[in-house]
């Protein structure tokens, strides 16, 4: 185990010398060995092994103009509001996929508006080959930053804007929010429930919009008194539930647009002595295990593969970069399926 003096790492030159070939040939071997005769390949490989050669990344990037790194941009609010099982799972999926492709993950946390400058500078600096970001509000400056910086970007969650004329279509990965909501409401109807209330998320998030659309797909003549708006938090779910019960004490089912709100709603139902699911059936969304399985009764909910979404985001981006190089078009966005998970609350 030679303890390397820092800064004295062996170069390709050294490998080539040891293997008795030219630097060019050594380079070919290190990069896959195509078009080099077997014995030479072996000799170079052995030299690499003996010298513990590791390519200098900066030198490689300098000439190839590819960094082998991808930025993950995350706005600070998200890291908190989602109280993370959501985000951390997605990040994990991303990390796995990137690792499998020897691509590094550079994390950019946006703390406030002032940070966008820093982000813009970074992305424009050619430090990364692409970026992954999460679903944003309409006025978010990020899309225009990445576009101007020419950095291919894949979004998690359907963005609320669409590409302008002549622009590349926005690439994203999202769950089938609408379909999942449809399934949930349909299931409640199948149980014989007739006054199905809805606790929605903030209307500036497309996932909330899509879930509401799904609800409406089934309950075409929706009674507005059965709809309340929350903010995807436990507290807001409780508030919305109280509001709904005050307005419509006769409701017999609730579909909440995420599990956190469902758990808040459940708390209120219990406080008021309303048995779940006997009198009011309750369905959530997301299937966050730390929430949906922990409530009493456990939540029936719509499951989405969060980690899988992360993987797909990374895969979509990497594939797009690959295609950019080969001149093909970028791949399309992906909608991942959702499934209804039956537990005790409905």
């Amino acid at each position: 185990m030679p303890e390397q003096h820092p800064g004295s790492r062996p170069t390709l030159e050294a490998v080539a010398a040891r293997a008795g070939v030219s630097r060019a040939t050594a380079s070919r071997v290190v990069n896959g060995g195509d078009g080099v005769r077997k014995p030479l390949v072996d000799r170079v490989r052995q030299a690499v092994e003996e010298l513990q050669y590791i390519p200098n990344h900066a030198a490689r990037t300098l000439v190839t103009r590819r960094t082998g790194a991808v930025a993950v941009v995350i706005a600070e609010p998200e890291i908190r509001i989602f109280s993370d099982p959501f985000f951390s799972l997605q990040l994990r999926g991303i990390s796995k996929e990137l690792a499998a492709h020897d691509t590094q993950l550079v994390l950019l946390i946006v703390e406030g508006p002032a940070d966008f400058d820093r982000i813009a500078r970074y992305l424009s600096g050619g430090h990364v080959d692409g970026a992954l970001a999460f679903s944003l509000h309409t006025d978010d400056p990020l899309p225009s930053i990445t576009r101007r910086a020419g950095v291919p970007t894949v979004y998690g969650g359907r963005p609320s804007w669409t590409a302008g004329p002549g622009e590349q279509a926005v690439q994203y990965v999202d769950a089938d929010n609408r379909g999942g909501a449809r399934a949930a409401v349909q299931y409640l109807r199948g149980l014989g429930r007739e006054r199905i209330a809805y606790i929605g998320g903030p209307p500036d998030q497309t996932s909330a919009v899509d879930r509401l659309d799904g609800y409406r797909d089934i309950l075409v003549e929706t009674d507005p008194t059965l709809i309340a708006e929350g903010a995807f938090t436990v507290e807001s779910g409780a508030r919305a539930m109280a509001e709904l019960l005050d307005r419509r004490p006769d409701l017999d089912a609730v579909f909440a647009a995420n599990d956190l709100m469902a758990s808040g709603a459940l708390r209120v139902l219990r406080e008021r002595g309303i048995p779940v699911p006997e009198q009011v059936a309750l369905v959530g969304f997301d299937d966050m295990d730390t929430v949906a399985e922990a409530t009493d009764p456990p939540l029936t909910t719509v499951r989405q593969e969060i980690e899988g979404q992360g993987r797909l985001m990374a895969r979509l981006l990497l594939r797009g970069l690959e295609k950019d190089r080969t001149g093909a078009g970028r791949p399309d966005s992906v909608i991942t399926p959702t499934t209804l998970v039956r537990r005790a609350s409905a």
Copy 2:
């Protein structure tokens, strides 16, 4: 807003030409402008502005051998077990501090033993100037990896091993766990409590060890029936509490080594109809706001500045890198203070 053709970004050469100076002078200005006369500085700055010049990071790294990036290594279990308010806060602190020093954050998530190879290769590859990692178990391969790769590393939480002879002392940032525990127990004693139980964490984590030591500092003749071991999770806290009550129904206070376990304990106390704090006073540790403020009654707990710890880790590392360059010794580890936060549970 010139939409740059990718790959046609202006170089220092171009800036120099436009400002009518040499590349060397342009470089000096870009790197702070020391020893360049004012009018030239201005001219170069203007050229930079006009051309929207952004230095090529790879080229710079190639010659300076500094990457301007730091790795944050995190083992997958942590990301879940702590259910993250803890980790995400620390990460946030790190991110802020690094951003303030124009240093990038490369996130390395270790999924399993097989990943250590990848991590080792990455760290040895000179992709980063340093690394930040989190407190580990005795047999963790990471320390030996970073040492062999010659990557300066700062740990979050006191590591359970110490440096061998002749090795650099291990640098870390940790809360004053022992002092915090002392304060908590002392506080309970001040309330007149006499049979103060302890719910501890896993003994292979130094934070758990240190907190137990603090407890023992005050309760010198500890009764072993008053001590139970948990695993820093809600469930394990509940289990430990039940165990303690079975053994010692007469206990009048509990100090739990973290808030999650305290909330588990609280649940059990409530289930058994034991009033808190009247019959049993309860103190937690960490002051995780999502937990400590959300329980009923809210937890009295020992607060540690988690985000601040993250900042300090980054600062320690950056300062160490600076000193390496100037030839000074690396700075010492840091212990951050804890404070007792009084709420209703004790």
